[in-house]
Symmetry: D2
Subunit: 342 residues, 4 copies
């Protein structure tokens, strides 16, 4: 099977190149980038020199790609808005597309416009494009050919919360989420705020109270809870390259129900290769999931407040983007779920 | 005026040595440490070589210190429990003592026992020892000779919250606090969990849901609010040497009262040298306060939830410990508030 | 094929567990550690949770291991001296042993005693144990059953230098080497000098002028040069977890012979998967090899001094230890050289 | 006395603002920057908020500044070439100017042109402008009104070497210097190579074999040695914000003369507040000088090679730039040498 990455110049794109180059079941045959077309991938991503041989970036034209017969699966690592320019013709041509942008993450075009500041570029595709965290979805999405890969923060939040909301163990109202992301979360952005001396030894919030991912978080939590779910989401930047650490405070519906939380997680994630449920009192550490497709989660209960405090960690570029995209491909095409991801 | 630091081997002790060595109005004449007695301060704290000359650590005996006539002010940088062994005789001998431990931070011996796992070592002194964040206290404490210097997390929390609770702008119930500390917050602790390769590129929670500082936070917030105040406090370790970043979610009592928050802060901190109130939407950054005695605070309001999100940053070793202690000395003895702290 | 790691509690041991757990051709069946016996590997090395299943550390007894018929290859990740206690009986029992310690790296027992401060523990095995950097050795070593895996600094030094010395392009006299290692080079050592706040934002030399690896470096360079080779080796610690950056100054034997350097490297490393020769003027970056088994090397010529300045980088735990050990196994047993290493 | 900083938008400029704001004997009355004119210094340099009050950046016009009567001393923190545009009229107008650029560091216009790629912009001033590391100069420079402040790498190199060359203890030929700088050495440069994720956990060389500072290093070492002095200078970037670590290999002229090295240093630096000579075997650590105007130096002797290995560390922004500039001002105007620098 042949794969292409469209728009591979960023950090998620680079991680996709790494994962697909090592994948036993697919061949990475095309890597596109408008700005890098003609250049060797190994020169632009020197960390991957031993993996990419003489592969070069190519320019990309949606219509040509749609007409090509060589490529079986397309990963879109493009900005929102731009992704649709590719997704639409590729979808119409019957290709399989896994989109890492925000374009197909939201069900509501109104919310998209509110949060992304522009009209939705391809509303006619929304129904066709399931939003999938593999551990949380049933198998119906596998028949779709356009799949929305969730955002990094939302993945770190939904993995612990969705099963608990579905089981009715926590109050969907009043959830407070604090997330801390490594600097790669900002992408390969060249701006004064992101140079080394500004971010090193620095911790700060940003984008409060209405970060773009909030739209996706609330939409998904509401689906899980069958109820309104207005959350407080506080993103921050932490002085590390990769990793997201999320700490959630949610009201327990029943007293002393920590066991139920763990039972619910056990049922949801027992046997799943990429979610580790840690004992209460063991706090997940971003360092332990960096470079992996794993999420580590745990919870404590505070009898003084009646709250659960839930912690989760992921690698923002892997389980929060490229690794999850590869996991989706694996599952859709019947490969081992862990193929290329260990 | 002559000053002594008792128990100076840790990071707060080192920072006190730095600050007092440069102070225009006092002379640091003694630095004690049981483990380092006899050694040159400059050899143990090479960063201070140019400041400390040939000062050596001495052993310390509470009774002898109490009997000495040379030293005017004692800073106790000792573990809780041990601090009282010095504070008691020094206090009885009429010395001025600024205690950086937890021994005199709590008004309730019951809470002390609950959180620190031992009976309070000097309950008879509690009444005499005011707990003082200088910006939040009236002047009465200045007549005390034993003063409790607040903890690092509590300082980062009280500075933004206390004026708002006093003004009735936020609901004392349901406050959620997430704090992220640089690794020096753990002190100079030699343990596998604190070696470089374990903490570098790592973010994780710890001590939830009942960190020791919670006792101090709640007691002080309740005083400010004249009401019960059960908070959720989530401490974390961040991969940096110094700094605390605190993010607080608190329910606004009135709609659209962000202006009142800023007015209240302006009234509390206008003209204060060590608190900077940043405009809404400007998020404080630990990097900007590292090495200073400053706290930077700001807030945003979320009309969707009715919450304020309040951010604050301090240097945990300075405004969170040694700098605040020096500020207390400055104010008590009528020096410039900023003396030795710029 | 079944593999065992003896003494797996350190960082090199952890990296070996990672690499062997993912290896397509071997099964990691035993992981020993005196201090961790009985504990789950996944609990002690949480970063590997998804790889190790319910594997536990076991205690290890040299005689029992030698008598066992289950295990085909043993990796010794033990301190020098201790390694021989295992290597000897395992070798006598006809097992294949790859030793990551210093015990079989030196040909001379006198030099071993000089640098390691103790008599060589198993001099009778020295002849049987080849010292192998795979890219620099001919195939004879593959018949050996006890193989010495080179040290991290020496690997970063020999890869660029050995072909040049063999080709007579540089003067074996007067070579000056500066190396900078990430803190994991010190192992999982719990000491005040290695806690986060001491090593973060810190750069310093150590162990000059006679670091233990010097013995190994000189012995190997002399073999390559057929001449005496007294080098200056300056090791340092750099504030990062992993990686070695080495900068070598060597006198060119012929003027304007940079092309010959590159030709020689091309001949030595063309087609080798784990050495990348970068163009002159492109300086290798530790970040680009971290997590890989690759060495990146390049050189510039200074006509003012007649010196080559040669730069190389490796991941100290992979090409400098565990990855090289796995590469040795791959080659000895006829697996793909890159198996488990991409 | 009133001071102005011309071109204060970079990191050295920021450090100058910090130092002069706290200086007891001068008042910082003007801070200029073409790009930031009109903006509050405290908004652009939030770390200095508590120091700068409502000082704003102003635009700067060389002629106007030269005509002004308010300012007594000008610090030029400008790029080379641009600095001369200010230095010339200010000098002609009789002002005191301390220039942190390269414009007046070299005695030879030919070498300037060779290394900086342009004709020297003000050759007529070269004779008037002494190049001064205060610890290494006699007092004659104090009568000059235009003073060249040395570069960061050169300061870390000359402090240990110049006394030894003057004393004839080391061979001026064949000196090999490796230096590692924190990322602030590149200034506040906004480029992909300097964003956090590229520099974090990364170590690499650059600018070999002919970094611009080489010209300054050789010119000064030759003056000290009264002999030709062609050195190999290898600069690198290290993953930290500040600090330079320099390791020098130099041939001893006499056997076993380490004592003479220490005697010579003792004579040169005994009683000097900003140079600490550490015992042989104690290696200086950048962390110990960060935030200070201090240089720490030490040396070992290797009897195997007959070389001294000399280590030095400074804070590149302080002793390597702004601190040294303030020290020059202090000495020229008869203030305490350490005023504002402790």
């Amino acid at each position: 099977m042949n794969a292409a990455i469209i728009g591979a110049s960023g950090y998620s794109g680079e991680e996709l190149v790494r994962l697909l180059s090592r994948h036993p079941d697919v061949k990475l045959t095309a890597v596109t980038s408008r700005s890098l077309a003609g250049k060797l991938v190994g020169d632009q991503m020197p960390a991957l020199r031993h993996l990419v041989g003489d592969l070069s970036f190519t320019a990309s034209n949606p219509a040509e790609l749609a007409a090509s017969t060589e490529i079986d699966i397309f990963f879109l690592a493009l900005p929102h808005g731009v992704a649709s320019e590719f997704a639409d013709p590729l979808y119409q041509a019957g290709k399989t597309v896994i989109d890492l942008s925000a374009d197909f993450r939201l069900g509501s075009t109104r919310v998209y416009e509110d949060y992304y500041g522009q009209a939705h570029p391809a509303p006619h595709l929304l129904e066709a494009a399931p939003y999938v965290i593999p551990e949380l979805a049933d198998d119906k999405w596998k028949s779709a050919s356009l799949i929305a890969c969730p955002g990094c923060y939302p993945t770190s939040i939904q993995l612990p919360l969705v099963p608990l909301l579905k089981a009715g163990l926590i109050d969907p109202k009043g959830i407070i989420i604090n997330s801390y992301s490594g600097v790669s979360g900002a992408g390969r952005k060249v701006a004064e705020d992101f140079i080394y001396c500004e971010r090193n030894e620095s911790m700060k919030g940003y984008g409060m109270p209405k970060h773009r991912h909030l739209s996706e978080i609330e939409e998904q939590l509401e689906k899980a809870a069958f109820a309104d779910c207005i959350v407080q989401f506080n993103p921050h930047l932490a002085p590390m390259s990769r990793g997201i650490s999320t700490t959630i405070v949610a009201k327990a519906k029943l007293k002393d129900s920590l066991n139920s939380v763990y039972d619910t997680w056990e049922k949801a994630y027992g046997g799943k290769p990429f979610v580790s449920v840690l004992p209460t009192g063991t706090f997940p550490d971003t360092k332990h999931v960096t470079g992996t497709n794993r999420a580590d989660i745990s919870a404590v209960y505070d009898p003084r407040t009646g709250n659960f405090i839930i912690n989760s960690v992921i690698d923002n570029l892997i389980k929060g983007a490229s690794g999850q995209a590869v996991q989706l491909m694996n599952l859709k095409f019947g490969f081992e779920e862990t193929a290329g991801l260990l």
